[in-house]
């Protein structure tokens, strides 16, 4: 009951946040260096098309009406047309979204499953070889550009060793894609029992996911380390130790209490991952939303870009909301 009340309150907070975001995204169009209708319609637009765009955006109306129009269209799922693909933006997005989600979720999950134990281990064995090696690694990981690391991995594992496929998207072109169920190719192949497709999809996932993990997992390791370290030093752990509890039990207590800050950092990791995914998708020709956004920028296709920014911010807000809710569940000290 307490949880429901808290969740309802947080959901209520979401509304003004979403509105504020939509205002910012709406104003992006004002940055265009020239007539928005002309520019949004694209390079090969006819006069009629330009007038059509002008009408749908309501450019002849006052600003607040334009915004109301924009909001209404967005709520109906109408993000305009992409002149590059000649499709409604929403169709393009539906096609590409699963590929990006697959990349981001898989990276987030693996980073969590690997990062938390590693972080806890280094907190226990402070100053050990692993701890010092990880310190250097996290320093480097914060400085290395993810897109460059992806290219290096391609060079080593594709060009040099030939162990993994090159950067040609999610599936080998000679393999027939599995039937579309979730849109995530590896998962679809698994569901429909297409082992050849699964194998290929898996091989194509390794390098992009490894790139993102190598760069962003250090955030989870670092934060778990400091959170566990702090709880290990706290009074209740001293007390438990004085009672003669085993080290494993101590660590379990400490981990339980270190959980809230770790959950918070997971939200931050996803926030970073979205940006990283854009670059990594570009490197691996992944064909997801990130690559779509980059192609839209390069070819001045503004409607998809606007939709993508909005989605990215909404995704972030939802992730932070989930983090807050999880925080509430695992930390009973939080009051509504």
């Amino acid at each position: 009951m307490r949880f429901l009340r808290y969740a309802a309150r947080r959901l209520l907070f979401l509304i003004p946040q979403l509105l504020a975001i939509s205002v910012i995204v709406f104003f992006l169009v004002r940055l265009l260096p020239g007539d928005p209708a002309y520019l949004m319609a694209g390079q090969f637009a006819t006069k009629e098309r330009i007038e059509e765009v002008r009408a749908t955006m309501g450019l002849d109306k006052p600003l607040h009406e334009q915004y109301a129009l924009y909001l209404r269209n967005v709520l109906r799922g109408d993000f305009g047309m992409s002149w590059r693909t000649s499709q409604p933006v929403i169709t393009d997005i539906k096609q590409r979204l699963p590929a990006t989600i697959e990349l981001v979720l898989l990276t987030g999950l693996i980073s969590l499953v690997l990062g938390v134990p590693i972080g806890a281990y280094t907190a226990v064995k402070r100053g050990g070889v692993v701890d010092r090696a990880l310190f250097v690694y996290s320093m480097l990981a914060g400085s290395i550009p993810d897109f460059w690391l992806g290219l290096i991995l391609i060079f080593v594992f594709f060009s040099l060793l030939g162990w993994l496929p090159g950067p040609i998207g999610q599936l080998d072109p000679i393999i027939e894609p599995p039937p579309r169920i979730t849109g995530m190719i590896a998962l679809d192949a698994l569901i429909s029992g297409r082992w050849d497709a699964f194998r290929s999809a898996f091989e194509h996932l390794v390098l992009p996911v490894a790139t993102l993990i190598l760069v962003y997992m250090t955030l989870i390791i670092k934060n778990t380390r400091s959170a566990v370290d702090e709880t290990l030093k706290s009074d209740f752990v001293d007390h438990a130790r004085a009672l003669g509890l085993s080290r494993l039990t101590l660590l379990r207590y400490a981990l339980r209490n270190a959980l809230p800050p770790v959950v918070t950092v997971v939200g931050i990791v996803f926030w970073f991952l979205l940006g990283g995914a854009v670059l990594v998708e570009k490197v691996f020709a992944w064909g997801g939303l990130g690559q779509y956004a980059v192609e839209s920028v390069v070819s001045s296709d503004y409607a998809p870009l606007q939709a993508f920014v909005l989605l990215a911010a909404v995704f972030t807000l939802v992730v932070f909301l989930l983090v807050d809710l999880a925080y509430f569940v695992i930390d009973p000290r939080i009051k509504t």
Binding site: L274, A313, T316
Partner: protein, 305 residues
Amino acid sequence: MTTQLLPDTDMRPAWPTRGRGEFRSFLAFARGRPGFLLGLVIVAITIFLAFFGPMVAPYPPERAIPGAGLLPPSAEHAMGTDVSGMDVFSRVISAPRIDLTIALSATVIAFVGGVFLGVVSGFYAGSRGIGRVASEAIMRGADIVQAFPVFIFALALVGFRGPGTENVIAALAFLNIPYFLRVTRGAVFQVRERPFVEAARCAGNTERGVAFAHVMPNALGPALANISPGIGFAILLSAALSFVGAGVPKPTPEWGSMISIGAPNMMTGQWWTALFPGLALGVTVLGYALVGDGIQDFMDPTKRR
């Protein structure tokens, strides 16, 4: 308690600005820290190259040598040549000029804007009237800006405005303001409780005068310490923008755009075209981060020794 009105320690700025003693203790501090020293060396090299890089380069960085495409590293071309026959080494050492110009201008603008907004929002937080409204509005604005993943927002800003150096600077400056804002606000919260602020009020200063003449100079420390890693972060972001084609246009020597030129070659085995600019980029960002860490430790008296 009688001397509490103007205690000596409270008059000291958080940032060590005065005297040779401070400088000497800084040297002693740096000597014991190899990471900090390494960072200082890297930063010094990039600054040197920003001024003189194109002059000491063995080849003009934007000249394509006909028939000399994709040569591997050799005595003539220390880092090989790229697909159009431009000397990679010359381009790598010429790039700091544009990369540092972008990062430094963006960070300085963000510093000025962030400190100003941070002082306003921190000093007037919890007060009454227009100040409180401004303080709240600033913080909510920062929240909203930071709801957007930073690279994606940068991509969108530059995408709508069009590529080009000025637009990259403007976008990065805008996106970095919230970081400087937040650290300054935190520092202002501490400084504004100190007795000398009360003293400044008693001496007849206006609220605005107290905020900007007395509180602000003493709350600059965290923002100043944030400049160096901020520059590193801005270099990384602008390189990423150039990599996807939304930053500095192509023949200009810039690390991100060099990596993008070299990207197709990595699949066919000509590793030198993308490896070296990426290394230069990573080492530079690392250097600025190390310097930032060192400065932060230096300002924290408990970590000085």
